[in-house]
């Protein structure tokens, strides 16, 4: 019986031009375009300069800032309030104010204070910008000291600080986003397909014909889910290929582990979509409910912002978000090359979700009232 039902589902999916298009368009959008958009890297910070000193040393400092890859000189104001104005207008993100007597005081050996004001409406950008600028300032003073030669009679203590990054040495944002976006792709695709599926049959009236037939409900649900699993895995393969060809992002860990997790995850989301479908009477309702939950789940799954930064109660809530575990697992496999043994907790959680949602999906599909 299953083979006949499957045959039907596959034919319907491949004849539905809209769904087939979605299968092509979504991986392109999610994996090829989104990594550029979801870039939260802080660069090209616009710096407004107020140079009250107009000395060779202050000019060199300004040049040094302008030469940094992080900064772009955008505005030169005569006064500090003028520079703040430029920030308010959005002309600059950061103000560097060099005080009068900068060179004079430096040469005399006094500690000179330079004012750095950062627009921190976007906290990350403000903080990082100010930090980069502080680093440039301390580099600059080091350079000046070196150029001036050793101070007689004293060895100045200096830290030689080196910074290194594991797993993603160049801090490439795409490497970080791609595994997360793969999760998003699978989620939206599998959820949308199943959420609209049963409700579609309800609207067309064909579900009645199935309900009066002796098809067991688990079998009917299975026939609906199976094609979906295949579609999900197909999309994953497309996505991973696109990530490799376009962005050069490949997993460090084993493909087998990725596949294992993907199969499990697709089971979870398709069943979740099925649950939504079972409880809805119209496609419109199904869409709304799906949108609502998808937005919540996606935003809280740690894909865009770190879960660690959330308040404790929120973190606790997020532990029932299936997306979280798949995002975590995929990132660990892609970036750190973690093996199955290290991902056991994520695997266990996903197994739990798979059982719950699949049982729920079968249970909530009622052949009779």
């Amino acid at each position: 019986m299953l083979s006949y039902l499957l045959e039907k589902e596959f034919k319907q999916i491949f004849r539905n031009t809209f769904l087939s298009k979605l299968l092509i368009v979504m991986p392109v959008m999610f994996i090829i375009i989104f990594p550029y958009v979801t870039n939260q890297e802080v660069r090209d910070v616009k710096v407004g300069v107020v140079d009250h000193d107009h000395s060779p040393l202050s000019r060199r400092l300004v040049e040094k800032v302008g030469a940094s890859p992080y900064f772009r000189l955008s505005d030169v104001s005569a006064t500090y309030p003028g520079a703040l104005d430029a920030v308010a207008e959005g002309e600059s993100d950061l103000v560097l104010a060099v005080p009068r007597g900068f060179e004079h005081d430096l040469v005399r050996g006094e500690v000179v204070e330079v004012l750095v004001a950062a627009n921190s409406v976007n906290g990350t950008r403000g903080t990082l910008g100010a930090q980069y600028l502080s680093t440039i300032l301390s580099d600059y003073s080091g350079e000046l000291r070196e150029a001036a030669g050793a101070v007689p009679g004293a060895v100045l203590p200096v830290f030689r600080t080196e910074t290194g990054f594991r797993f993603n040495p160049t801090l490439d944002y795409k490497v970080f986003m791609v595994p997360g976006l793969l999760v998003m792709l699978l989620t939206v695709l599998c959820c949308a397909f199943t959420a609209l599926n049963i409700v579609g049959e309800k609207e067309a009236g064909t579900i009645e014909q199935i309900n009066v037939s002796p098809v067991p409900r688990a079998l009917f649900i299975l026939a609906k889910l199976l094609p979906n699993w295949i579609i999900g895995l197909l999309a994953l393969v497309f996505g991973m290929l696109a990530a490799w060809l376009v962005h050069g992002v490949t997993p460090t860990g084993s493909l087998g582990t990725i596949l294992l997790f993907a199969v499990l995850y697709v089971c979870v989301v398709s069943a979740a979509g099925m649950v939504v479908s079972n409880y809805s009477n119209t496609m419109q309702q199904a869409m709304f409910v799906m949108f609502f939950f998808l937005i919540i789940f996606m935003i809280t799954c740690g894909l865009f912002t770190p879960i660690k930064s959330m308040p404790d109660w929120m973190q606790w809530c997020v532990s029932v978000n299936p997306l979280k575990y798949f995002v975590q697992a995929l990132r660990l496999i892609y970036l750190k090359g973690s093996g199955f043994a290290e991902l056991l907790p994520e695997f266990a959680w996903l197994c739990g979700f798979a059982v719950v949602f699949n049982v729920w999906a079968v249970w909530s599909y009622k052949k009779s009232l």
Binding site: V116, S120, A130, T135, V158, F176, T300, T305
Partner: protein, 368 residues
């Protein structure tokens, strides 16, 4: 005019009677603001720091104490072998490792230079950059303190001032954006679906066959959603101010003006969509994929526009929410006057006019 009134009343009744939709319309914004406000946080909290310190002298102890005292770090582990560094990273237990060179203090005293290394988990590039940034800052402070004792020349100290959002609260950045998202969702999506539903069930034809002026029909369709949108803006702002502690520093008047203009943009978009499609399903998909996605992705709500490549930034210029969100941030957080967001306001006024005209034209051509 009386006729018009009764029409408007009918529209209101229809919407308020549909409990489920009402619930979505009124609860969704609240949930979104709370979630986005609390969940979307990028600030660093209690980053876990491990130290590998083969020297264990007075100098390294002082530095470690400085780290432990910092609000950003918790010193969780002292490593004894360098090989452990990889292990702690792989397990995901540690975010940053501070590695001192051997004989740190004596190198510092005799050679004037001692090595210290910061190794971060680069998985999340922003977190890694922030953490190493904070850590370098602490190291720089330690060094400056040392240098001061030596009376060294050429010391520059940065006096950093955070404008508008000194605590770097993420909510300051995100909440004004959520207002834009919510309005887009409610006005555009709901309006388009509601009108298309009337088209599908055939009641639109009945309306159009009545002696009502098309303009009045269109207005009566828009008015309830306009009202709902205003209610939503007010709710969201009240939540933002009293629950999330986000300030409104600028003028309420301009905030209201900009919001009304933006609501018109969203309503016009919904109307336009409803004149272009004939099925509820298509209306949902067009407004869902065609409006929601760009609003989330291209408006600068979560992903800063500055970090996008040129071409995509150009696309974002056509997303109305991008301009509205910019205005909201300026009014609420920066508290600047109208002169500073004149351009943005101009853009959405222009969009409102163009879209309204297009919607009106289509409405007349396609429906009447």
């Amino acid at each position: 005019m009386k006729q018009f009134q009764s029409f408007v009343i009918k529209e209101f009744r229809q919407i308020f009677r549909d409990r489920r939709t009402m619930l979505i319309l009124l609860v969704m914004p609240v949930v979104q603001v709370l979630l986005l406000g609390y969940a979307i946080k990028t600030e660093i909290r209690d980053a876990r720091l491990a130290v590998f310190d083969p020297s264990k002298d007075a100098e390294t102890r002082r530095i470690k104490e400085r780290f432990a005292a910092s609000e950003y770090f918790i010193l969780t582990e002292e490593l004894t072998r360098p090989e452990q560094i990889n292990d702690v990273f792989k397990g995901g237990d540690i975010d940053l490792v501070l590695v001192f060179g051997e004989d740190f203090a004596s190198h510092l005293q005799h050679d004037g230079e001692a090595a210290v290394q910061l190794i971060a988990d680069g998985t999340d590039p922003n977190q890694a950059a922030m953490l190493t940034g904070y850590a370098s800052g602490i190291l720089a402070d330690c060094q400056a303190a040392l240098l001061e004792n030596y009376n060294a020349p050429f010391q520059i100290r940065a006096n950093v001032r955070m404008l508008y959002n000194p605590q770097s609260e993420s909510a300051y950045n995100f909440v004004p954006g959520v207002v834009g998202l919510v309005l887009m969702l409610i006005c555009a999506m709901m309006t388009s679906v509601a009108i298309v539903r009337e088209k599908e069930t055939g009641t639109m034809e009945v309306l159009l066959a009545s002696p009502m002026k098309p303009m009045h029909i269109m207005l009566s369709k828009m008015l309830p959603y306009f009202t709902l949108s205003v209610v939503n803006v007010v709710t969201v702002l009240l939540l933002a101010v009293f629950v999330m502690g986000v300030p409104i520093r600028g003028s309420l008047f301009w905030l209201a003006v900009s919001s009304v203009v933006f609501i018109f943009v969203a309503l016009a978009l919904g109307l336009l969509i409803s004149t272009l499609v004939s099925r509820q399903m298509s209306a949902l998909l067009v407004s869902g994929i065609g409006l929601m996605m760009p609003t989330i992705v291209f408006s600068g709500l979560i992903f800063p526009l500055e970090s996008m490549p040129e071409g995509l930034r150009w696309i974002s210029d056509f997303v109305p929410a991008r301009w509205y969100i910019a205005i909201m941030r300026k009014i609420m957080i920066e508290g600047v006057g109208v002169a500073y967001f004149f351009k943005e306001l101009g853009v959405i006024v222009l969009m409102a006019v163009v879209l309204m005209a297009a919607a009106w034209k289509n409405f007349k051509v396609r429906l009447v």
